[in-house]
């Protein structure tokens, strides 16, 4: 669903983020676990479409994450390691 990806990124453009450096990415995945995943539910569940399959490998990007926690819930194989970003970093709602 490429359209959908383009779309959500455009809508996320309205949201304010304070992005931390990559070495402090608050969520990581283990791509080798993803290869064995029976459902890839992270792709359906993530409202910011931070999960994308590229050349058969699951890729995760943390920058647009709105910290909802859904990927951690649906990732039954245990590939997702989930932390909150460091204080002040990440999504900063102006409305909420």
């Amino acid at each position: 669903m490429q359209d959908s990806l383009v779309n959500v990124k455009a809508r996320l453009g309205s949201t304010k983020f304070i992005t931390d450096a990559e070495e402090h990415a608050h969520i990581t995945i283990d791509e080798d676990i993803c290869v064995t995943c029976p459902h890839e539910n992270c792709m359906n569940a993530c409202p910011a479409q931070c999960f994308e399959k590229i050349d058969g490998r699951m890729k995760f990007t943390y920058e647009d994450c709105v910290e909802c926690g859904t990927c951690d819930i649906v990732c039954t194989p245990g590939s997702v390691t989930w932390y909150n970003p460091r204080g002040n970093f990440g999504v900063n709602y102006r409305y909420g």
Binding site: M1, S4, N7, V8, R11, L12, S14, T15, K16, C37, P38, H39, E40, N41, M43, N44, A45, C46, P47, A48, Q49, V66, E67, C68, G69, T70, D72, I73, V74, W82, Y83, N84, P85, R86, G87, N88, G90, V91, N92, Y93, R94, Y95, G96
Partner: protein, 436 residues
């Protein structure tokens, strides 16, 4: 490093639950440290949302004048959206303005105000600090870990919201290491800017009224989702709440929560209401909806859990009540801490006074009652069949076909067209009726 703090109590999280707890503690003379990970109060928080009831009055008598709320609800819409149809009950009641049954709110504004209110009351507030974990000695919660450093207190009130990392890492969820997808829905929300005069005209709400609309989204793919539209001062809140366990589970089916939001946004009924409005924010947040069975541990040695973190949120897919319970549980927890300070005993047994207060103030009773409502409304037929059924039926009655047929015939036709059986209709109507 372990720093012994002078605070009997640390509250983690300055949402409605944490702010209510901290404010109450100060008002009862207990020193409290409130830690919030956002730099500015409210910047991490998102709801629909309508703040129902008058629970803040106990803590802030003038809250209705002071709190930066949006519009009071004077018009309530409840509807079923089919693929291209909408069946909507539209209830206007001017007296709701005076009684102010509920206000639309934007949490970045309300929670920033609440944090300031806490500061003014003498709560020690630190923002921009993420609490990484609860600090335990021999299984007893003794403080919090932030920036790798420990700060101790007699008791910690955990108010870190729906995605409660602290109850998971601190082992306060009955041994669970992960939240259960059956107990959470995901809310996806957009805020759209709309000219005030246009809004007041379009929604028939006038300068001093507001609209709260909640809709069952008819889908034939088994996904259960509800939609909402709320009028704020000069913005609209538009969103969907998706039952996570009903998302497609097979590989390659990439229907996403974002797509469900898009489908709602682009529905002809919604488009007419939002025409000309401009997107100013996109966000998402979990909604606890497991009720009773999904509660975290409420009191432990040295800790209490409040608000969404504990699971005090009720949702049936279309109506959500969480902010009011966040306030009420925060107050109960604060009073339990006052009780424990009086005894100088912070054991689970003494702190379980919290549960007694939750019962006494009716919070627990409400969740016992909600148990059945939730079951009645999160019913697959509600989403797969009824939106079509209602459209078929009312299209029959309200269009040219109408007068020629008897009501009964329209009902039978609609049941046939949407595949609802008489027995199903009876059972669902009875359960819904008995529980609403």
């Amino acid at each position: 490093m372990v720093t012994k703090s002078r605070f009997p109590c640390i509250v983690v999280g300055a949402g409605m639950a944490g702010c209510a707890a901290a404010l109450r503690l100060r008002q009862k003379g207990v020193d409290v440290l409130l830690v919030e990970r956002a730099d500015e109060g409210g910047a991490k928080n998102l709801s629909g949302g309508i703040l129902w009831g008058d629970d803040w009055a106990e803590l802030i008598p003038d809250w209705k004048e002071e709190m930066p709320v949006e519009r009071p609800v004077s018009n309530k819409k409840v509807g079923f959206l089919g693929a291209e149809s909408a069946f909507v009950v539209d209830y206007h009641d001017e007296s709701m303005k005076e009684d102010t049954v509920g206000y639309a709110v934007l949490r970045a504004k309300t929670d920033a105000y609440l944090l300031k209110k806490c500061q003014e009351a003498g709560v020690t507030v630190v923002t921009g600090v993420h609490v990484e974990d609860l600090y335990k000695e021999n299984g007893v919660v003794r403080g919090v870990v932030a920036g790798g450093e420990v700060t101790t207190a007699d008791v910690v009130i955990v108010a870190d919201g729906a995605n409660s990392r602290l109850t998971l890492s601190g082992d306060l969820r009955h041994g669970q290491k992960k939240l259960d997808e059956h107990h959470y829905a995901l809310g996806v929300k957009e805020v759209l800017k709309l000219d005030k005069a246009v809004m007041e005209d379009r929604f028939h709400i006038g300068e001093d009224g507001g609209m709260a609309g909640e809709y069952v989204l008819g889908r034939d793919d088994g996904v259960m989702a509800g939609g909402f539209i709320y009028t704020n001062e000069d913005t609209l809140s538009l969103g969907v709440v998706v039952n996570l366990a009903t998302l497609p589970q097979e590989k390659g089916n990439t229907l996403s929560t974002h797509d469900i939001m898009e489908q709602f946004r682009l529905h002809p009924y919604v488009q007419k209401l939002t025409h000309g409005a401009e997107l100013v924010e996109y966000g998402a947040h979990l909604v606890p909806e497991g009720g009773y069975q999904a509660f975290s541990e409420l009191s432990a040695d040295g800790a209490l859990v409040v608000g969404d973190a504990a699971g005090f949120c009720f949702s049936n897919g279309i109506v959500i009540q969480g902010m009011n319970y966040a306030v009420r549980s925060g107050v109960c927890a604060a009073d339990a801490v006052v009780h424990a300070v009086g005894k100088n005993d912070f054991s689970a047994v003494t702190l379980s006074h919290y549960e007694k207060l939750l019962h006494k103030t009716g919070v627990m009773g409400d969740f016992e009652r909600f148990k059945n409502v939730s079951k009645a409304l999160w019913n697959p037929r509600m989403f797969s069949k009824y939106p079509d059924f209602l459209s078929n039926m009312f299209r029959g009655i309200l269009t040219a076909d109408g007068p020629k047929k008897k009501m009964r015939a329209h009902l039978t036709d609609a049941m046939k067209a949407s595949g609802v059986s008489k027995r199903e209709l009876m059972t669902d109507a009875l359960t819904a009726g008995a529980n609403l």
